[in-house]
Every structure is written in C-alpha cells, then in structure tokens.
C-alpha cells in the first residue's frame, strides 16, 4: 500500500473510533473501551507498517484553503513518534478498560481518549504547521475535557479551566509565530508553512526573512512549546490537571500530549540551529532550570499523583535542554531528546497506572503519608512501581540511566566547549536535578511501599487482577531493557552516540542518585520522617507555595489585574450606555418642548410672534443692519 495512505489512516482510524466508540457505548457500555482500543491497535499496526516500509521521507499535501496545505509527512522522526504514541496509548487504553470499568460515563471517556490519540497522531504526522496547530488544539481540547471528566468535582472543573487558559497563552504565542512566519515568507515561497520545506530549506528561510524575524518566530513557537510541555513559567497547569482520572494523567499529562511541545521543537530543529547559538541557549537554560525547579517542588508534595506530575515537568525539562546542546552533539540533539522522551513515556505511563491501581484500591486516597506497607499487600503493582522508580531515578541498568545520563554528559561538554560561566548553568542544574529526581521519587516510593500501613484503607489494599496489569508489565520490561537500543535509536533518527566525558563526571549523576536513595531510605522507610518538622522553615514554606507562582497567576494577575480591569470596563460601559440614553432622553424632551409650542391656542401664537419679532428687531439693531 501507498506510504502516505497508510500514514493518513494512522490518525484517521482513531478519529473514526471517536464517534463509533461513543455510540457503541450507548449499546453496551463495555463495548466502547474495546472499540477505542481496537482502533488504536490498528494505528499501532499501521505505524509499524510505516516503520518497516520506510525508505526515504514521504510528503504528500493537498491544498487546504488559500495557500495553506495539509497532508502527511513521514520521516524517521514522525514514524518513531507515531509508534510511541500509538503503543503507549494502546497500553493505557487496555489498562483503562479495567480502571474505568465501573464509571457510568466510560463511553464518553473512551470516545475522548480516542479523539485525543487521533489528535496526537495527526499532529505527529502533519505536513503543514497550520494543520499541526489544528491537531495541537484538538489535543488541548481533549485535555480540557478529560481533566474535567469528573465535571461535578469543583476542583476538576477549575483545573480544567486553568489548563485550558494557561496552555492557551502558549497557543496564542504559537499562532502569532505562524502568522509572522507566513506573512514574511509568502512573497518568496508558495507554501511557506510546509514542514518539509521549512526543515530542508532552513538557511534559505533565514535569508528570506532575516535573523531578527526568525528569532521572534522561533521564540513564539517556543512559547507554544512551553505552554504545552509545561515548562517554566507556564508549568502551573499540570499538577492541577491531576484531578482527572489517573489513566488520563498517564496518557495526556505524562506520556504523550505534553511531549507535543518537545516534538514541535524537534520537528523544526533545523530552523532552531541555523538561527544561532542564542536560541539554543534559551532552550538549554529553560529546560534545565525547569528540571531543577520542578524537582525542588516535587520534594514537598504529598499527593502521589502530583509528585509524578512534578517529575513529568522535570523530565520534560531534560528533553528541552537536550535540544539546546546542538553545538556539541549536532543533529544527535534531537535523538537525545527523543530517546529520553520515549523512555520517559514508557516509565511514566507505567508509574501513573501503578499509582492508579493503588488509588483505586485505596478508594481515591492520594496522600502518600497515609499509605505505607503496600509492597506486602500489593506485591505485583508495587514491584512494577519499583522498576518505574529506578528508571525515573536513572539507576543502571534501566533505560533511564542511558537516556538521562547522556543528556547530562552532553551538558558537561556544552559547558567545557565554551568558556562562558553561564554555559555551565545547564550542567549544574541538570546534575542537581538528578539528585532531586532520585530524592522525590524514592521519598514517594518508600512512603508508599515500606513501613507499616498508616491508614485503615492501606492495610486492606490488594492487587488488581493480574490480567489488568499486563500492560504495565510490558511497559516495565521496556523501561528496564530499552537501554539496549539506544545506539540503534539514535542511528535511526540520524544521529550517533559519541560522547566521552571524564569518568568522574560520567558517574557523578548516578552517585548523587544513589546517595539520594540512601538518604530517603533512612528517612522514609521507617518512621523517622514523622519527627522532622519543617513548618517553621522559610524554604519549606516557599516550596510548599510552589514559589508563589500559582499565587502570582491566580491571585495577582487573574484576580487583582484582569478581573478588576474587566469590572472597570463594564462599569465604564454602563456609564457610557446611560450617557447615550440620557442624550436620547434630552432629545425627546426637546421634542416635547417644541410640541408644546404648537398648542393651538391663538393667543400664545400671537404672543410668540410679537416676542420673536421683538428679538429679531433688537438683534438687527445690535448687528447694525438697520
């Protein structure tokens, strides 16, 4: 079959699955999950067919409207991403059949997740940036709907709103970037938003629109990526988004959708590196700072899902910063970022699903301080979680070790390659980040798994049926063993792994991680942590308040600036309306006055006539006419 046709059906199948699973759910509720999973399984098979049949990049576009086209663009980057998205999504769908099995609205859930998967696959395979944006927004819409899936919970409704508006800020930056890119390029090239054109003609594009314009465009695109991939300073929506079902968190807020921002930059990478070292440095510094920042916040959170949410933000920071190290690893930067993205998708989906299994058996209890001793009671789930935690903390020989350490090594080379002090910041941030990652991960893990149950619910926890955990086991196997394929993966994306750093630097992150695990073990495996009282510490308060970022957005910008501004405008509007009405009334009154003059009484006409003549006469004398 034709490559481009297969590519179309990769995302059309779940798109068709969206209404079908909804209506199938009307016939029999359980059918909808099966239909949705089947449609995604087909996409996975088709993506795999693309992978097997791949020889050279294929692009096919049709005119959409005006000079915008739409179509599919198949190259190693999009194929690999499509494989990952469809595979992880399939695993999560299979688990969700169990997890959402008792929800009365599960047909809505499955319809929305298959629309989501369709949107993500469409985004991955888009051949045009405007089409990319269309799918980008479909993905955002699904995220909004799924965060608010339990719409009756006030928290869920407000988290959904927050997610929509915060990502909208990034989206608006993206759309302006598109508008500027289009309008500056259209007089030179016929189809300026075509992705293949942009990536293969990056120097010409820069020559045509000038470096300054390209900077602006790329920064605006980066704004979109920051919103979607929840990088600092637009990271605030992800922790709140944990109000949705846990499988949604696994699917959207960890494994796939949030990677769209990273993918956008990877997709347009040639534009980024031709634009100059400054743009790349911004990527590196935003990413590494986010990695550090979110890691710090993750240390003080007690909600199991929110800990994982902060770890997502932090790991996305690693991917973002990897893209900034072009000067030392060249085109492999994309491979490094994508490889970590893959590994992260595997273990994060698995960690979230394991957390979901725990939350389900604990009747929606999410506070890790109330858990404890679950390894004995839910051996399979918590063992899977253990593999996930090791991978997240990047302990040898899990895949996380390979993916994350190579990024940190690259950041070291980035530092040594340049003498500037500020080029050392990414390495510093990422290295501290690897300590923090291990610390918050194992703080969570030890609180969950070891010790004695600290609540009645925890002492009665038990494993879900083994069959429902099968997808988690597959993902666990991948998390543990995918490190073997690092070189192949990088080769496939057209890069290579050729980094040599001093041995001490090489082993620094894992040493720090092991120290962190040791410390958390001493503190959290038993009851010692209960004696630490941090409430008086100022640093703890700052962390607990998330550096006051949420307060800044909600209490200052939204409530102290936008709402009063809107109040002022609407009261000005009311006054203006009242003024117009008053003017109207005055006019009417004047009409009434004139009407009264026409009273029909002969005497008053006569009086008026005399008066008027007198006034005119006097006026004439004064003006000297007479």
């Amino acid at each position: 079959m034709d490559t481009s046709l297969i590519a179309w059906f990769v995302f059309l199948t779940p798109l068709i699955g969206f209404p079908v699973s909804y209506f199938a759910g009307h016939v029999r509720r359980n059918l909808s999950g099966i239909v949705a999973s089947a449609s995604i399984a087909i996409s996975f098979v088709l993506s795999f067919a693309l992978y097997l049949g791949y020889t050279s990049p294929v692009e096919s576009s049709i005119n959409w409207f005006y000079s915008f086209s739409y179509g599919v663009y198949v190259d190693p980057l999009s194929i690999s991403m499509a494989l990952m998205v469809s595979f992880v999504s399939l695993m999560i769908h299979l688990f969700a059949i169990y997890y959402m099995g008792k929800d009365p609205n599960r047909h809505v859930y499955f319809a929305e997740t298959s629309l989501f998967t369709a949107g993500m696959l469409g985004l991955v395979l888009s051949s045009n940036l405007l089409e990319f944006f269309l799918f980008w927004e479909i993905v955002g819409l699904c995220s909004y709907l799924l965060i608010g899936f339990w719409f009756f919970k006030p928290n869920a409704a407000s988290a959904a709103k927050k997610a929509f508006i915060v990502t909208r800020v990034g989206d608006m930056a993206f759309i302006i970037g598109l508008a500027i890119l289009y309008s500056t390029l259209v007089s030179y090239f016929p189809d300026p938003l075509n992705i293949q054109f942009l990536v293969t003609h990056a120097p010409e594009v820069m020559a045509a629109i000038g470096q300054t314009n390209l900077y602006i465009v790329l920064f605006l695109f980066l704004g979109g990526a920051i919103g979607k991939s929840s990088q600092f300073p637009l990271h605030v929506w992800i922790p709140d988004a944990m109000e949705g079902p846990t499988t949604v968190s696994a699917l959207i807020h960890a494994a796939t959708m949030v990677t769209a921002g990273i993918y956008l930059i990877a997709r347009l990478y040639p534009l980024y590196y031709v634009s100059g070292a400054e743009t790349l440095y911004v990527l590196a510094i935003i990413g590494s700072f986010t990695a550090l920042f979110a890691g710090l916040l993750g240390l003080v959170v007690n909600d199991i899902k929110r800990i994982l949410a902060y770890s997502t933000i932090s790991q996305l920071g690693y991917m973002m910063s990897a893209l900034g190290f072009y000067s030392v690893i060249q085109g492999s930067a994309v491979g490094f970022a994508m490889y970590h993205l893959f590994v992260h998708a595997f273990f994060k989906a698995m960690l979230f699903m394991a957390a979901g299994a725990i939350i389900l058996t604990l009747m929606d209890l999410r506070d890790v301080r109330k858990m404890g001793g679950l390894w004995k009671r839910m051996p399979v789930t918590v063992s899977i979680m253990f593999v996930g935690a090791l991978t997240l903390a990047a302990i040898f020989p899990t895949a996380g070790y390979f993916s994350k350490d190579s990024i940190i090594s690259a950041s070291y080379l980035y530092m040594t390659a340049s003498g500037q002090w500020y080029h050392s910041l990414p390495w510093l941030f990422l290295t501290i980040g690897s300590f923090l990652t291990a610390a918050y991960t194992f703080r969570m893990f030890f609180l969950v798994a070891l010790g004695k149950p600290r609540s009645d619910l925890a002492s009665h926890a038990k494993d879900p049926p083994l069959i429902s955990l099968a997808p988690l086991m597959v993902l666990a196997a991948l998390s543990a063993g995918y490190g073997l394929f690092q070189a192949d993966f990088l080769n496939y994306l057209g890069g290579s792994y050729s980094i040599s750093v001093p041995l001490g630097i090489e082993y620094l992150p894992i040493t720090l991680a092991l120290i962190a695990i040791l410390i958390t073990y001493l503190l959290y495996a038993g009851e010692r942590w209960k004696h630490i009282d941090l409430h008086k510490s100022r640093a703890y308060r700052v962390l607990k308040n998330k550096f006051y970022m949420d307060k800044l957005y909600t209490n200052v910008i939204a409530e102290r600036a936008i709402l009063p501004l809107s109040g002022a405008f609407s009261s000005a509007e009311e006054r203006y309306n009242a003024g117009v009405e008053k003017l109207g009334r005055k006019t009417l009154d004047f009409g009434t006055f004139l009407r009264r003059l026409q009273s029909g009484v002969l005497e008053s006409y006569f009086t008026l006539m005399i008066l008027t003549s007198a006034v005119l006469f006097i006026l004439a004398i004064v003006l000297g006419v007479i």
Binding site: A160, K161, M172, S183, E581
Partner: protein
C-alpha cells in the same frame, strides 16, 4: 436568470405570513426552508466553478431616466450571506413559539425578505429601502415581544441605527449628484456610484463626507466601539428568536456594507480613515471582551462576545486598505480581506448556534443568569455539550469555522500592524478566558439543586443544533470552497 422570480415570489409569500392564522409557524418554516434550498441550488448552479464574481443583472425598469430600477445581482459573497440569512432565520423560526401568533412570524419573514433584498439589490434606491425594511420589523419584534423595558430599548435600537441610515442616504445622494455632474446622466446602480474614479472627481470635503456617512452607517450596524450602545440591551431584551436574527443575520449588514459596498473604492480610502478603522477594531475587540467578562447574564455576555468578534472585521477592512495602498504583496492583503468576509459569515452561524443553545437551556431551566445555573452537565449532558461546542466555536478553536477566519486575518494583517498584533492576541486570550469561565460556572461543578430536575435536549432541538454544529465544523475543516469563492469575488472587485 430566475433571480427576480425567486425573490419576488419570496417577498409575496413572506408577506402572506400575516394572513396564515394559526398555521403561521409551519407555514413560515416551509417557506424559509424552501427558499433556503432554492437559493442553495441557485448558488451552486451559479458558482460551481468557484468564481465568485457578479452574476448578470436582472432588472425591472421603473424610471430609467433617473436611474430608478429594481435590479438584482448576486456575487459569491452575497450568495453566501443570503444562504446564511435564510438559514439563520429558519433557525429563528424553528425555535419561535407558535403561541407568539402570526404577527410574530410575519415580522420575522419580513425581516428575511428585507435582508435578502438588501443583499441582492444592486440599485441604490432599493438597497436603501431594504436597509430600512429590515429595521422596522425588528423594531416591532423587540418592542412588542421583548422583555423588560422593551419599548425604550426598541426605540433606542431604531433611532441609533436610523441615524446611521440617514447619513448613508446623504452619502448616496452626494454620489448621485456628482455622478450627474460628471456625466450628465442619472445612474443609481452601485457599480456606477461606488467607483474610485467618481470618488476622485469629487472635492475632498465631499469625498470625506461620503465616506464618513458610509462608515458611520456600517460601524453602527457591525457594531463597533463607540457606536454600539444599542446592541447589549437589544440582544438581551429581545426574545431568543429575535436575538438569533439580530446576532446571526442582521449583524452581517455592517460587514456587507464594508466588503459588499465599499470594497471597490478600498484603494482610495484616506489613510486616517483606515487607521481609525484598525484602531476601532482593536479597541472593540479588547473593550467588548473585557466588558463581557463581568456580565452576569449569559445572553448579555454573548452579546458582547458577538460585538468583540466583529472587531476582527473592522480590523481586516482597515488593514487591507492600508496594505493595498502601501503596496504590500497581494497574497497578504487578499488573505485578510477574505478572512474578514469569512468572519462575517461564520460569526453569524456561530452566534445562531450559541443563542439557540442558550434558548434551549433557558427553556429547560428557566434561567439565564450565570449564577443561577451550575453543574447542569449532570442533568442535561447533551444540551450542555452543545453549549460547550458553541462556546468553543466562539472562542476560535481550530477545527471550527471561526478559527479559519481569525487565523487568516491575523496572518494577513501582520505586515501592516506589526507588533500591535499582540493587542489582538490579548483580546483573544480574554475571550477564551471568559468563555471557559462561563462554561465552568454554568455547565460544570456541583449541580445546583435549586434547579430541580430539568429536561435534556429533545430530538427536535438536538436536530437543529447538530445541523448548526456540523455546518460550523465543515466550514472549519473544509473551508476551501467558501474561501475560494470569497477570494475570487474580492479579486474581481478590487
């Protein structure tokens, strides 16, 4: 061919609604539905090649010496707007309660006939007559059937828009007399009055006077800040079907004035006028969005949303005038001209969708204040989904029709407005925020138990809402045909 016959029979059948007694609702539905289909077939046969230029004029001579003729002509742009008006009025009639009686339906049908006549007329005399014909039935619809303060609101609506019409009439008269001065013959067709050469032959004062008259008339109708104060009250006080007519169908009049009447002279619009239009458009967008955010009534909030969306139309017209005169590359200005026309069309559709869903929600719950609803998704999921879809369409979600227009305008205006574009983005962000905030407060969250049990959407209401939603989606996902029609119309005119 056929245009005159179609239109005259429509006018007679519409007027006949006043004599239909208790069958007025089915009668009006059948007539408006029939003419919708008839015009659809007519437009397809006329424009299947996607060339949106004018059709041949069809004329009834009345007083040829003075130029008074009844001439109908259709372009790609007016054909789309005719279809929109007929469709929107069909929706309005569909949701009208048959208890309103025949006068109500008669007035609605008269509005329809006037609006279609306005869009098809290419003779100034009848263009003006229809412009007024549209006004009067709506005045009565608000005055007789409106809510609180209906008489003063309807008077405000009438006087406000009438001031604009009078100025427009003066403009037409000035053009008419200068045309006679130049050529010695009387002419009243739009194509001979609104031409760059005639404008350039006029003294500067009169040229500015004419343009001023047109702009005031059209900006009142759009509406644009600061000529808008008729709008929120009228939209709020009018019964839902009339709000749908106002927001969906009548709102195209201002836009049609700009892109249907003034487009031929866009190249001679003075710099100061164009800049004023751009500024007014941006101010409208931000001002109405911020004003909307604090509204307590859903209907009034959406009235402001409608006005804000029209800011895009003003901006696109002003910017394209600047771009044409500033020798910007043709692809750029064609994009925002077409985007502006697209926006006029889809805005009508989206507003019809929004107000129709609000109507069903208020019928189901008896409430239209945001604070008195809450969590109704639990009891009325289908209806709530429709309202959510309408809100998403209104905030310009890609995949819905509004996005195509907004993106085209944004990409088209950038070369001229530069970084002022961020003001528009700010307006769009505010728009998104209050739409989503309203959804959170009315549809989601815990159910407001004071509402008791409420019925969900029935099959009739679902059918009409689904049709609207599908059209909006189709225009958002496959915009090519309409877009091509509009851009070829604009290319032909400029």
């Amino acid at each position: 061919m056929l245009l005159l016959e179609l239109y005259i029979s429509m006018f007679i059948l519409a007027a006949a609604t006043f004599f239909t007694g208790r069958f007025s609702r089915p009668y009006a539905l059948v007539v408006s539905g029939f003419y919708f289909l008839a015009f659809l077939v007519y437009s397809i046969s006329q424009f299947y090649s996607l060339n949106g230029g004018f059709s041949a004029a069809e004329t009834i001579l009345i007083s040829p010496y003075y130029g008074f003729n009844f001439t109908l002509q259709v372009s790609g742009f007016s054909a789309l707007l005719v279809l929109l008006s007929l469709g929107v009025i069909f929706v309005a009639i569909f949701i009208s309660d048959s208890r309103h009686g025949r006068v109500f339906f008669g007035l609605e049908m008269l509005t329809m006939a006037g609006l279609v006549g306005l869009l098809l007329s290419s003779n100034v005399l009848f263009f003006y007559i229809f412009w007024e014909v549209v006004l009067i039935p709506v005045y009565f619809l608000i005055g007789i059937f409106g809510g609180r303060n209906a008489d003063s609101v309807s008077l405000k609506f009438f006087v406000y828009t009438h001031i604009g019409s009078v100025l427009m009439l003066l403009s037409f008269f000035s053009l008419y007399s200068y045309q006679y001065n130049n050529t010695g013959t009387f002419a009243m067709s739009l194509s001979s009055l609104v031409t760059p050469s005639l404008f350039q032959s006029m003294p500067e004062f009169w040229r500015l006077f004419v343009l001023f008259g047109f702009f005031v008339a059209f900006l009142v109708k759009l509406p644009s800040f600061p000529l808008h104060s008729w709008l929120p009250d009228s939209y709020e006080i009018a019964p839902y079907p009339v709000t749908i007519i106002l927001a969906g169908a009548l709102s195209i009049m201002g836009g049609y004035g700009l892109f249907g009447i003034l487009l031929p002279v866009i190249s001679i619009i003075p710099y100061a006028f164009s800049v004023t239009l751009v500024v007014l458009g941006v101010v409208s967008l931000i001002y109405f969005s911020l004003a909307a955010m604090s509204q307590l009534s859903m209907k009034r909030m959406m009235a402001y949303a409608s006005a804000a969306a029209m800011g895009f139309v003003t901006v696109s017209f002003g910017t394209s005038a600047l771009e044409i005169q500033g020798n910007i590359y043709v692809s750029n200005y064609m994009l925002d001209i077409t985007g502006g026309m697209y926006q006029i069309m889809v805005h009508g559709l989206i507003m019809a969708f929004i107000f129709a869903s609000l109507y069903y929600i208020s019928r189901s719950t008896g409430k239209e204040m945001i604070g008195s609803l809450g969590g109704i998704f639990r009891e009325a999921p289908i209806l709530s989904s429709f309202l959510l879809a309408a809100l998403l369409a209104s905030l310009g979600l890609p995949g819905m029709a509004g996005f195509v227009a907004e993106f085209s305008i944004l990409a088209g205006i950038y070369p001229e407005v530069g970084f002022w574009i961020f003001l528009i983005i700010f307006g769009m962000l505010i728009t998104a925020s209050y739409h989503i905030w309203m959804a959170q407060r009315t549809l989601f969250g815990p159910y407001n138990e004071n509402l008791g049990s409420i019925p969900d959407s029935g099959s009739a209401s679902s059918a009409i809402l689904v049709i609207l939603m599908i059209i909006i989606l189709l225009l958002g996902v496959f915009p090519h045909y309409a877009f091509q029609l509009l851009s070829s119309y604009a290319r032909g005119v400029i």
